[in-house]
């Protein structure tokens, strides 16, 4: 499996790679991925690559990602070229109108890309008192909800538990389920 995770510096996208890594390790899979640190991380476009299986390089080639997980819809759309035909696009939407763009619709259809949108900020406002720091866990939940070969909700939950402080465990589990359900029922 090959994943591309995109967003904006400060949104917590590094966490997604850590969760995917922990899940894969549990399953005794080989993993490699690439992260962004330093200036490139400051508020600008950021991208993480993650691969499980028999690879040497941590970089995913354009057109080969199975899953594109976007913390920001603009970053997601801008990086759609990474997805393979038939790949899955899990995206945090803040402005639905972009997805009415006919060219975009046609592209997604032609490449048979499954779209899994969720309105992360609205969900966190409604259920988590507007604490947007939970966005990363919410999107991990959404990715398991999308299926598409991504880790199951149980596996993701176990990894999130080991990787985050115990005091956030209850809230994290709640948010994870929120993300899962936002996508799975569609």
């Amino acid at each position: 499996m090959q994943y591309i995770i995109v967003g904006i510096g400060g949104q917590g996208i590094l966490f997604a790679g850590k969760v995917l890594g922990a899940v894969a390790l549990e399953k005794k899979q080989r993993v490699t991925g690439s992260e962004v640190h330093g200036m490139a991380q400051r508020g600008g476009s950021v991208i993480s690559h993650f691969k499980t299986g028999d690879f040497i390089s941590p970089l995913v080639r354009a057109g080969e990602a199975d899953v594109l997980l976007a913390f920001d819809q603009n970053e997601g759309i801008r990086n759609l070229h990474f997805l393979r035909e038939g790949g899955a696009f899990v995206v945090n939407v803040h402005d639905r109108s972009a997805f009415d763009n006919l060219k975009l619709k046609e592209f997604l259809e032609e490449r048979r890309i499954s779209l899994f949108p969720l309105e992360g900020y609205s969900l966190l406002k409604e259920h988590m008192g507007g604490n947007f720091l939970f966005l990363n866990v919410l999107l991990m939940g959404a990715m398991s909800g999308a299926g598409v070969g991504a880790p199951s909700l149980e596996d993701t939950a176990a990894a999130v538990k080991t990787l985050s402080p115990a005091k956030f465990e209850d809230a994290n589990m709640k948010v994870l389920k929120l993300g899962y359900e936002a996508v799975v029922k569609k």
Binding site: A22, G43, K103
Partner: protein
């Protein structure tokens, strides 16, 4: 040293953490560094691992790379294994000791880790540290993966002790910042005895000794090249094609990893690869033998043609010298796939963006986001104060997050660490020569000030250069992820106490008479202070120092929450706040022609209330929604 290696479970580590484990496990006693992307996470991981294992290692940030390297080098004079860690441009700072230490017959193993940043992602150059290894006549290991990097640390120390020479490990950003499953633990080697033995012919680089040592260094290169030809098959090996190869590729480091995955994915098993993990001195016989067995040979390496350059005859190969491989930029999968498509005449190797997607992105006006200072960043307020106080000033700046002040039109020059101060001097001198007196206000961070700011400041005091130096003290080395520095005073290992060095005191000690400190968030006070400081500098003919102080947002400081809103009636759409404050939380709606608060990013620092000339930004009454 006896190697006792027990294989244990696997763990997922950042490449830099894997390198750190190698350093600790190889019995290193003294590890020093100055943070710099992509190398920054190595030293903290060394300290953490040494703490976990309860090992008596000295692990410290040097105040700059030269300091760090000299400390490690001298530690190795005692027989201890020592290493210094830095980024590629950090090696420029440490170049002086690196060049001379190369000539020494060392006692303990000395490792230099110099991390490269092809791209570049977070650097002012994409220079190739392996070139520096060649320049200094020092052997270099070039890992392709995190696991290999850790393994190479052991071999680099062994090689260093065997030949008495400093060795370089050159990971590139894709090794430093990869996250990979690696062996969890390796039983650490026990450090050897530590004793400094006096021997001027060995430890003093007088010209008379250098004339003896340089021919010896040349001989070491011959011997190490021979060793690389014969003994390092685990790093230098051939991945043969099935049947007759249509192409031979000589690849090192990250480029080897990328090209391997591409060929495998495309099912091209008709290409053979010679993987080189020791690019300097190049095992030339091995490479020439490979070249002789192939009709077409392509070289892939980052970022400079270091292997190509060492070939006695490179006219028969394809690489950077003849433009087949681009002369700049990172060798991303898409770049290498493009090169392969041309060389193999196989267009299926090129992906290429879909025209529909390209059009959609254009129609939706989606652009890549430039890096920006974080919401709530105190530097943003400082830059705004400086720019507003003296709009006609010239503003040299420095290496750190605050180079992003360029977004606020408050940064005019950046060269390297410490050059904000020396550039101010240079601008002052040019103006002085023709009798001009335009204000110059420089900005530098706390860590950068201690790194290389002090010599420039002393020079400016001594020579009477009139400018304002604004030191942006956010109590951390922020750009690289929040490392301590002298102004913070804490150290890396548990129980190892440091001492805080006072910035105000340091400036006064350098002879600066005007030293004032302001709260960075207080824009009114900041503006007044900038004007006053410049008046002092101008009238007294000397530098004035202004310290803007407020903790970095990455430290998550406790501070009042002041939710804000933009009064849509008062906002006239002049974009003043966008152009000069430039906050991710304060954006402009092209549709409405007005600014608004993007609650996804706003952290309610409240600073922007004092920014709008029309009073349209105000604190909301009551709670945030």
């Amino acid at each position: 040293m006896e190697v006792s290696r027990r294989v244990s479970a696997r763990a997922i580590l950042l490449g830099n953490e894997a390198i750190a484990r190698g350093i600790v496990e190889a019995g290193c006693l003294v590890a020093t560094a100055y943070p710099g992307t992509p190398s920054s996470e190595i030293l903290p991981a060394v300290a953490k691992y040494a703490d976990e294992l309860g090992l008596p290692m000295s692990v410290e940030w040097g105040v700059n790379e030269k300091v760090a390297f000299e400390e490690a080098a001298a530690a190795s004079f005692t027989g201890a294994r020592a290493c210094a860690v830095m980024k590629q441009v950090g090696l420029n700072v440490a170049a002086d000791p690196f060049m001379s230490i190369a000539h020494y017959q060392l006692k303990g193993g000395l490792l230099l880790v110099s991390s490269d940043d092809p791209g570049p992602h977070s650097s002012q150059t994409e220079q190739d540290s392996r070139y520096f290894a060649m320049f200094a006549k020092v052997p270099c290991f070039d890992p392709a993966t995190a696991e290999e990097a850790r393994e190479m640390v052991f071999d680099a120390f062994d090689l260093s002790e065997r030949f008495g020479i400093v060795t370089m490990l050159r990971p590139s950003v894709r090794v430093d910042h990869c996250r990979q499953d690696v062996q969890e633990k390796i039983t650490p080697l026990r450090p050897g005895p530590v004793k400094f033995e006096k021997d001027p012919s060995r430890w003093v680089c007088l010209p008379a000794f250098v004339r003896i040592n340089h021919p010896k260094l040349n001989q070491k290169m011959v011997d190490i090249r021979e060793a690389f030809e014969k003994e390092f098959a685990k790093y230098n090996y051939e991945v043969p094609a099935k049947g007759k190869a249509t192409l031979g590729i000589v690849a090192s480091g990250s480029a080897f990893a990328v090209v391997s995955d591409i060929l495998k994915g495309a099912g091209r098993d008709d290409v053979s690869i010679l993987k080189i993990g020791t690019p300097h001195p190049l095992p030339v016989k091995m490479v020439n033998d490979f070249i002789a067995r192939h009709d077409k040979v392509l070289f892939l390496e980052e970022t400079y043609p270091v292997m190509e350059m060492q070939l006695p005859d490179r006219t028969g190969i394809m690489g950077r010298w003849n433009g087949v491989v681009p002369g700049a930029g990172e060798l991303l999968p898409e770049v290498i796939a493009g090169v392969l498509a041309r060389v193999l005449g196989d267009d299926s190797l090129v992906g290429g963006a879909h025209p529909l997607l390209k059009e959609a992105i254009e129609e939706l006006k989606i652009l890549p986001r430039r890096p920006m200072l974080c919401p709530g960043c105190p530097h943003r307020a400082s830059f705004f104060s400086i720019r507003q106080a003296l709009p006609n000033s010239v503003n040299p700046s420095d290496i750190g997050c605050y180079a992003l002040g360029v977004n606020q039109k408050a940064v005019d020059t950046v060269i390297d660490m410490g050059a904000s101060i020396t550039a101010s001097s240079g601008l002052f001198l040019a103006q002085k020569a023709v009798g001009e007196e335009k204000p110059v206000v420089a900005t530098i961070g706390d860590s950068t000030f201690f790194h290389m700011g002090l010599p420039g400041l002393v020079s400016a005091v001594y020579n009477r250069h009139a400018f304002v130096l604004a030191i942006l003290d956010n109590a951390t080395t922020a750009m690289t992820g929040g490392q301590a520095n002298p102004a913070v005073g804490t150290k890396l290992r548990k129980g190892d106490e440091g001492k805080r060095v006072d910035i105000e005191g340091a400036c006064r000690g350098c002879g600066v008479e005007y030293v004032r400190t302001v709260e960075a968030y207080d824009v009114a006070a900041g503006k007044a202070a900038v004007k006053e400081a410049w008046e002092h500098a101008k009238s007294k003919g000397e530098p004035a120092v202004l310290i803007f102080r407020h903790p970095c947002m990455l430290l998550r400081p406790e501070q009042p929450s002041i939710p804000v809103e933009v009064d849509q009636d008062k906002c006239i759409g002049c974009k003043f706040c966008i152009n000069f404050f430039n906050c991710p939380g304060l954006v402009f709606s092209e549709e409405k022609g007005k600014a608004y608060i993007d609650e996804r990013f706003c952290v309610s620092c409240g600073v922007c209330v004092s920014v709008c000339p029309h009073g349209a930004i105000r604190a909301t009454s009551g709670e945030v929604e």
